[in-house]
């Protein structure tokens, strides 16, 4: 199986915490949207893709100063469901249950969590 933009696909059944030295982690963190949703999940642990889309749309609006429209949010939601969430799930950073619309943070190494937090702090 070849890797996607997140790098190699994690072995199924892997329960060990993801550690820092993995290329796919850096790929995962290469996108602002993914960094932000991982950061929210680090704190909330689990939430719906709907809530993530609302938060990301609002987050964007705080930067542009413009109102985020339902179309903006819908675009983000589609992008999450079809790209970011399955990709992060494949990388083992989250689990995403499409059916119940539940996103959960994976079992992350403390240093990984720190890296995610720091990437957000660096942004603001």
């Amino acid at each position: 199986m070849t890797g996607n933009e997140f790098g190699a696909v994690v072995e199924t059944g892997t329960e060990s915490a993801i550690s820092l030295d993995e290329d796919r982690l850096y790929r995962a963190l290469a996108s602002t949207r993914r960094r932000r949703l991982l950061y929210v999940l680090l704190v909330e642990e689990a939430c719906s893709a709907e809530r993530l889309a609302t938060i990301l749309a609002g987050w964007d609006s705080t930067e542009t100063g413009r109102i985020a429209t339902p179309e903006d949010r819908e675009e983000i939601l589609i992008d999450l469901k079809h790209r970011h969430l399955p990709g992060l799930d494949d990388a083992g950073l989250i689990t995403y249950d499409h059916g119940s619309d539940t996103v959960e943070i994976g079992t992350l190494d403390g240093s990984v969590a720190q890296l995610i937090s720091r990437s957000i702090e660096a942004e603001t």
């Binding site: 929210v40 704190v43 609002g58 609006s61 100063g65 109102i67 603001t124």
Partner: protein, 227 residues
């Protein structure tokens, strides 16, 4: 007639949620007198600046930074002109702002609101003003004002519930069925953005109701009187 309007107002499902990482915002108190449920949702500490998510009937209508909201609410509040061009979120936001609801106001407070509507009608000087005071005794002290409005403006003035006091330039109508209501509505004349109305009903010794600057709602308040 007005009961169904009240029911519609009560059943509106607008929700504002403030997403915030740190300090409390003033959004809740800013919308205290408006027909909207305001709640908050906490975000992680390094998250974004606070933003407001606007929902109408459980659907996302828009999100905007609280800083931007504060800027919008700073007087003079500039309303978007053509509603059709405005994004849904702003549409809902201004509908909420256009409407001030109250649960308990006394006669003196209602008179003050009424005076604002009358003043606005006087300033515009044309258009239609429809008025129903809760009782004859409330109208009587206003006689001089209405005489002046009739004499000095081109307003088309209709007063309901009173039929035996001919004041020239004012049309009086004896209309039944509005007994517990206090209503003033001005259509804005040539400028619909000037439309405004007050609708209140008696609850014991106090009144509950709302006033609005939403032209559509003003029109709904005027119609049963005009029929």
């Amino acid at each position: 007639m007005f009961d169904s309007l009240f029911a519609d107002i009560d059943s509106q499902e607008r929700e504002f949620t403030v997403y915030q990482s740190g300090e409390e915002t003033e959004v809740e108190s800013q919308f205290e007198t408006h027909n909207v449920a305001v709640s908050q949702s906490d975000l992680p500490p390094e998250g974004p600046e606070p933003f407001l998510v606007i929902e109408d009937e459980k659907e996302f209508a828009g999100a905007l930074p609280v800083a931007e909201l504060d800027r919008l609410l700073e007087p003079p509040v500039v309303r978007p002109g053509e509603r059709e061009d405005v994004s849904k979120g702003f549409g809902v936001l201004f509908e909420v702002l256009d409407e001030t609801v109250f649960r308990s106001m006394d006669r003196a407070q209602l008179l003050a609101v009424s005076r604002e509507i009358e003043d606005r009608a006087a300033r515009v000087g044309e258009g239609t003003l429809r008025v129903r005071f809760e009782s004859r005794s409330v109208f009587e002290p206003q006689t001089a004002l209405y005489r002046e409005l009739a004499a000095e403006t081109e307003l088309d003035i209709h007063v309901y519930g009173i039929d035996d006091q001919p004041l020239s330039g004012v049309q009086f109508h004896r209309r039944e069925g509005f007994d517990s209501y206090w209503v003033l509505a001005f259509d804005g004349g040539p400028d619909k953005q000037q439309a405004c109305a007050l609708l209140a009903r008696r609850q014991g010794t106090q009144f509950e109701g709302f006033w609005t600057y939403d032209p559509e709602l003003v029109d709904r308040i005027m119609r049963p009187l005009a029929e």
